[in-house]
């Protein structure tokens, strides 16, 4: 059974007099120990989905189930208890760490909340074990975040996320502010921790190379909807949605001998305050032709086992394989 299930989730924010439709009917599931990557551009709603999956936001419609708990039905106290099992690593390590607290206390805080019966000595031992686990010298226990490098700061963020032994961790662009060589160390660490602790990850990213390296399955978001999802190789090698195809073609290969064709998108992503009728990608699509494209929002349909796409057209059948 899936560890995390989102069904028919919608979320709208109010901004002045207008409504921002951030998430518009999302279904996702994550199995224990697997990584689902959520890719898409700014404003596609991927971070909002991450927060909904943790119960940090309440959906307007739909359900979020994590480890058997219906998050939208839990009261404050029960939700807090459930949080022991589900945590997050943020994009900006420094901004997500309290500058006045020591590294040790930052990592310790979730233990204080979730395991109040532990003695200070037991907590200290847990924190130091966790620091070693994320390859952070326990000698840094008394340091402040600003005294650490960016990579060390993110290791503190990871330590804080795993210290209570969660089953599900949202990784919200955990390496996008880090240098390449530092990113490599953090990704390696996250992959090892997943193996050792059987963690399920929701990996939010806009970097295709990292997603390709890191994930098992991929979901592509556009304007608050999942437009394509499936096993990594299926989605990245044989995209079936025109948006996925364009997004992947914009990724820059680090190999100068590879120069894949680029499909340039015209226009901008439509405003989430006024959702278009029909397919949300209609205004920028190079494949539109079906009469339903302009009037009906296509539901996800399964094109090969586990590979779902929300289109009326078929990209795979009209383009040469890439």
């Amino acid at each position: 059974m899936a560890l995390v299930t989102l069904s028919g989730v919608r979320k709208t924010f109010r901004r002045g007099r207008s409504q921002v439709h951030a998430v518009n009917g999302v279904d996702l599931h994550i199995e224990p120990g697997e990584t689902l990557a959520l890719i898409g551009e700014s404003g596609s709603g991927k971070s909002t989905v991450g927060r909904l999956a943790l119960g940090l936001l309440q959906p307007d419609e739909g359900t979020v189930v994590v480890d058997g708990h219906h998050l939208e039905q839990l009261d404050r106290k029960a939700l807090q208890a459930a949080r022991r099992n589900m945590t997050i690593v943020f994009q900006e390590p420094f901004q997500s760490l309290d500058p006045l607290m020591s590294v040790g206390r930052i990592i310790e805080e979730p233990v204080v909340i979730h395991e109040p019966s532990l003695t200070p000595a037991e907590r200290r031992e847990r924190v130091e074990d966790t620091m070693r686990r994320v390859i952070l010298d326990p000698g840094l226990y008394e340091r402040r975040p600003r005294e650490l490098s960016g990579g060390q700061q993110q290791r503190v963020g990871v330590a804080r996320a795993i210290v209570t032994g969660p089953k599900f961790v949202v990784l919200d662009e955990p390496t996008s502010s880090l240098d390449l060589s530092v990113q490599a160390g953090i990704l390696e660490l996250l992959a090892n921790l997943q193996q050792e602790l059987d963690l399920a990850y929701l990996f939010i990213s806009h970097d295709i190379g990292t997603v390709d390296f890191f994930s098992d399955r991929v979901a592509v978001m556009y304007l608050g909807q999942v437009v394509e999802t499936g096993p990594k190789a299926a989605v990245l090698d044989t995209p079936r949605h025109p948006y996925t195809e364009a997004l992947l073609s914009a990724a820059l290969s680090a190999d100068p001998t590879e120069q894949p064709a680029h499909i340039s998108l015209t226009g901008d992503i439509p405003s989430p305050t006024e959702l278009p009728e029909g397919c949300f990608f209609y205004s920028r699509c190079g494949y539109r032709g079906d009469p339903r494209c302009a009037t009906e929002n296509p539901p996800l349909r399964e094109v090969t086992p586990g590979h779902w796409v929300a289109t009326f057209c078929d990209v795979g059948s009209t383009t040469p394989d890439g």
Binding site: E41, S42, G150, D179, L180, S181, V182, Q183, A184, G185, I186, L187, E188, H206, D207, I208, G209, T210, D212, F213, F214, K232, L236, A246, L247, A250, A251, L252, S253, A254, D255, P256, T257, Q259, H262, S264, L265, D268
Partner: protein, 344 residues
């Protein structure tokens, strides 16, 4: 020996032995330590490196926009033969504004938030030549059109905050190109932009450079940008250029262990990632030997610890600052390193 049919064109930009320091009462940061490179007419050169490697200080020194306490303590920056380093500010402004177009990382930092875009075009153009408002307006409209702004009239009337990130960067590019510069310097021009927008902006900058035969210095931390948009690349580490050469050569057969490590850190499916070992020197006190010594997997030569290696030619137009030859020990191209048989 037969003379070459055509002598190689003189470089448009020539930077020699550049040193930049940031001095405060308590300490001196050696940000750039003897950087030399040149850019020929019509050539796009990538400058790649990680945070703190000195690439931004190098660029700021080249365009004469180094902020105090940073200053050039040594070296020359020649544009078309004229050394810009000791030029009086007035003259420097004239040359720089008209000959070098600068595209910074954050377009909103480059645009004045309280002036209409039209006024900003007028300011740029009028600081270098005369122009009647109507003519300046026509020039600005044509330029905005050339950078792919759909409704240039409206953008010209408006302010920076009304633009999206991608649009703002297009406006900045239009402002950078409006005086028809021969050299374009772009400092991480697409960092923070979405993938599809990044691609459009890079294509735009390249097309604008190519059609006019402009030279370009493209600063980035993204190996993909170098691979797809540059013909030559300079790799910086700890304030030095540690390797330079044709992109196809440097990215497939790097001669410096740092370049090799950087490429091994690019994530690829099914391949192992190799993170950095050791630490970057602080730049407060430069190490006596090779700056990469502490992180180097290959160090063996006795000179590594005591002598800072100079750039030496390791192939045609391919230079590396290293005492030994890593190629001999390397089984396969680093771009495929993880899939080498027997590697685990």
């Amino acid at each position: 020996m037969a003379p070459a049919a055509t002598s190689p064109p003189a470089p448009l930009l020539e930077v020699s032995n550049l040193e930049v320091q940031f001095r405060s009462r308590r300490r001196t940061v050696h940000a750039v330590n003897g950087v030399s490179f040149s850019i020929r007419e019509g050539e796009t050169v990538g400058l790649v490196g990680e945070t703190g490697c000195g690439k931004s200080a190098t660029v700021r020194a080249v365009i004469g926009l180094l902020k105090p306490p940073g200053r050039i303590t040594e070296g020359a920056v020649r544009l078309d033969g004229t050394d810009l380093v000791d030029l009086p500010p007035r003259q420097l402004r004239q040359i720089r504004g008209a000959s070098i177009g600068f595209v910074p990382q954050n377009p909103f930092g480059a645009l004045n938030p309280v002036l209409r875009i039209e006024r900003q075009f007028r300011n740029v153009i009028r600081s270098h030549r005369r122009g009647r408002p109507a003519e300046i307006r026509r020039t600005a409209l044509a330029m905005l059109d050339a950078v792919g702004i759909a409704d240039p009239e409206r953008v010209l009337r408006g302010y920076a905050h009304e633009l999206s990130g991608g649009m703002a960067q297009r406006v900045v590019i239009a402002l950078a190109m409006v005086l028809n510069p021969r050299l374009v310097v772009a400092d991480e021009p697409t960092t923070g932009l979405d993938l599809t927008i990044q691609r459009q902006i890079l294509d735009l900058i390249r097309d604008l450079a190519e059609t006019e035969g402009r030279s370009m210095l493209l600063v980035t931390h993204d190996v993909g940008v170098v691979a797809q948009y540059c013909s030559r690349v300079l790799v910086m580490y700890a304030g030095q250029v540690v390797e330079s050469g044709p992109v196809r050569k440097v990215l497939t057969e790097p001669a410096h262990p740092y370049t090799e490590a950087l490429l091994a850190a690019v994530p690829r499916r099914g391949e192992r990632l190799v993170g950095a070992q050791g630490t970057v020197p602080t730049l407060l006190q430069l190490p006596p030997g090779c700056f990469y010594y502490d992180r180097c997997q290959y160090r063996s030569d006795p000179r590594c610890a005591t002598e800072t290696p100079a750039l030496r030619e390791v192939g045609p137009e391919h230079w590396a600052a290293v005492h030994y030859d890593i190629g001999a020990d390397r089984p396969v191209s680093p771009l495929r390193a993880g899939s080498a048989p027997g590697s685990d």
